[in-house]
Amino acid sequence: MSARQETQTNGKARNNSALALGLALFVLALLILWVWVPLDTDSGLIEKVRRRWVIGDALAPSVAAVVLGLGGAFLALVALMGRAEPLDLSVSNVVFALAYLVLLVAAFHVMRWVGPGLVALSDQAQSYRSLRDTVPWKYLGFVSGGFLLVLASIVAVERRLSARAVLVALLAPLAIALIYDLPFDDLLLPPNGDL
């Protein structure tokens, strides 16, 4: 049974999930208002500067927290009245999101380190930093990281490794690299601006 069917056949569970989300956001808003904002801003809601009252840095985030808290409170209230809309979030959604996040972080770490790694392995006298604007070094990281990201995404859907997937995963980052790099002198592909 899918998450959607579950929530639709079980009105009570649906309301409970909305109630939990509403309360969680309400608590989050309180924490922002009473802990984060006071600890992490330098001025109060309003302040006297140069003998005049001005709005301080804490006011706007406090307003944001109040809006968020109101939203959470109303959501919880509507759920208590039994009129909440379905929340279609299942455990498997969270698992997917985490797995995909891992893939993204892995792909961008490959992007970041493949170039400097290869420079270290090769007998280059120069550092990757000074080579980051030269062919082929500037493409290595981007193309390998991009390849990983696109390939893994396609394979996850197709559940097999097809030649088409490999081709798309190879050509897409190459094409994107060329779109940005060939015509524009000043643009830097990832990760070359971080060095």
């Binding site: 006011l59 706007a60 944001a64 927290a65 939203g71 979030l89 995404s153 559940r159 830097l188």
Partner: protein, 535 residues
């Protein structure tokens, strides 16, 4: 310098500035080429299920800025391209809706109701022609309303609104968006609250970057592209990829043989459709002018109104939903009429009403030299010399660009539209990962920092979860963009009134805006779930 000088300069800026090449001895301006290519891209994108206008605008914007730079003469080519996409996508969306029963864009869902049955009857070309005619009519009408009403609205704002009133107006717009978008005002408030919070991190007046948790990367806050592209585009891509992972690759769409049994769309059909187009264009324009309500609702209302009046007038004919050409026309006129009117709040108030408007504002913001808001409509721009207000020239340039796009739409749009049916065959699971990589690359190129990419991914996850729990992302995006304006305007109003804590309540207009905000939110909360999604 008067109205006509500005108008003339605006028209000239589109047609004569920086010619790209010569055609038969006549210079062809870069801006016109950009409008035409944007329009073409828009139709293709609209015809591709899974891609929509705003997504293409989001991906195109950083590339355009790389190409044209951020000098003042980049404005019209870039905005022209984006406006082209916006207009093209609305007619493109009808193509797969009619041919394959798959809406290319969400607002073309109701086009399938009558368009696909028509295609099955062998009237695919007829339906496409009707969709094009209705779409172009609605769009042109909406533009004309924009041209006439935006300047007057702006002049009123400028004449009657001081800093406290401007603060009140932003509060009202935000409340309205939070209250009406999506299916619950509580969720709208949550979305807006999160957007405001994200906007306020790192920014601020003190030298200590507030809420930055000591991170240097957050010292200047989240760059706008990370939040907007993350929530709007990456969130959608993550969700799309997950759906595909669960369902497996989608089987190729069924092809409907396009027979030419009846492809006539002549005077008789125009007369038949006209009353529906007229009503729907009015509905779409009205909805487009209000912030927060998109073209999908316009299409729904246009279709519903058409269906009602058709059933009343011709009780013995087959109803809408059985392949009536009027049904296609009613839907397409309504959803296309949104695209001009949504620029009314953008140009006259600087307030974006929907995702397409967000990207137009983002473009103006990144390029600079044009700050949408009431001051752009001033005829006296003397401070910049020669008595010309360059912002008003840009406004007329934008209007001209819209008319160029309409002319293209009327002349070539129909032809081009009928040739992009093939786009519906591109497998979505190959497209989405490439779009993901392209979007993240575009963000990196603009920010030159991995931190920016990770921020965008974080916002992407936020957008993903918001979609999963049914919290609309539009209030988030608009609150993020308006949040910084809101704080600045409030600070200025407070300081300008000499530290009056009640500055929002001392002016009757500001007070009325605040009161209206409370009423709008309360009314929306009062009837939760009253506005169910169409069908």
């Amino acid at each position: 310098m008067g109205f006509w000088d500005h108008l003339w300069l605006g028209v000239a800026a589109v047609f004569t500035a920086s010619p790209a090449f010569e055609l038969l001895g006549l210079p062809v301006s870069t801006t016109v080429i950009m409008i035409a290519s944007g329009f073409g891209v828009g139709i293709v994108v609209g015809a591709t299920p899974g891609l929509a206008g705003p997504m293409a605008m989001a991906i195109a914007l950083p590339i355009l800025i790389s190409v044209f730079g951020v000098s003042a003469d980049a404005l019209l080519p870039v905005l022209g391209f984006l406006i082209g996409i916006m207009k093209g996508a609305t007619i493109g969306g009808a193509v797969p809706a009619i041919l394959f029963n798959t809406p290319g864009t969400p607002d073309a869902l109701l086009t399938t109701f009558d368009g696909y049955p028509m295609a099955k009857k062998g009237q695919a070309r007829k339906a496409l022609k009707a969709a094009h005619f209705a779409s172009a009519s609605g769009d042109t009408f909406s533009d004309l309303v924009l041209f006439t009403s935006a300047p007057f609205l702006a002049i009123m704002v400028e004449r009657f609104l001081d800093l406290p009133e401007k603060t009140g107006l932003i509060i009202l717009s935000l409340s309205f968006i939070a209250a009406v978008v999506g299916n619950s005002a509580a969720k709208g408030l949550i979305s807006a609250g999160l957007g405001l919070l994200a906007a306020y991190i790192g920014k601020g007046e003190d030298f200590y970057p507030r809420l930055s948790l000591g991170q240097d990367a957050l010292a200047d806050g989240f760059p706008v592209v990370t939040a907007v592209l993350g929530v709007l585009i990456l969130g959608e891509v993550f969700k799309g990829i997950e759906d595909l992972v669960r369902s497996g690759p989608q089987s190729p769409t069924r092809s409907q043989a396009v027979s030419k049994a009846d492809s006539r769309f002549g005077w008789k059909e125009v007369v038949l459709c006209w009353p529906y187009i007229r009503t729907s264009a009015l509905i779409g324009t009205a909805i487009g002018a209000l912030p927060g309500i998109g073209s999908t609702l316009a299409a729904t209302l246009g279709y519903a109104s058409g269906r009602r009046s058709h059933a009343r007038k011709y009780p013995d004919q087959p109803k809408f939903g059985t392949g009536r050409i009027e049904g296609v026309a009613a839907t397409e006129a309504a959803n296309s009429a949104v695209s001009g009117a949504n620029l009314i709040p953008v140009l006259s108030l600087g307030i974006p009403g929907n995702a397409a408007a967000v990207f137009l504002i983002l473009a103006m913001d990144s390029i600079g030299g044009f700050n949408p808001g009431p001051s752009v409509f001033k005829l006296q721009g003397g401070v910049v010399g020669e008595g010309i207000n360059p912002e008003l020239v840009v406004v007329f340039g934008i209007f001209t660009a819209m008319m160029v796009a309409n002319a293209l739409n009327w002349s070539l749009g129909g032809l081009f539209m009928r040739s992009v049916g093939v786009m519906a065959h591109i497998p979505k699971h190959l497209l989405l990962p490439v779009i993901l990589l392209l979007t993240l690359t575009a963000i990196y190129v603009q920010l030159t920092s991995m931190a920016g990419v990770y921020m965008a991914i974080g916002f992407g996850l936020l957008g993903y979860f918001m979609r999963r729990v049914g919290v609309s992302v539009l209030p988030f995006v608009i609150a993020f963009i308006l949040g910084r304006n809101l704080e600045e305007t409030a600070r200025q109003a407070f300081a300008a009134t000499g530290g009056d804590v009640w500055f929002l309540f001392h002016s009757p207009i500001a007070f009325a805006f605040v009161l209206a905000s409370v009423v709008v939110v309360t009314l929306a909360l009062w009837r939760p779930g009253a506005r169910k999604k169409p069908n």
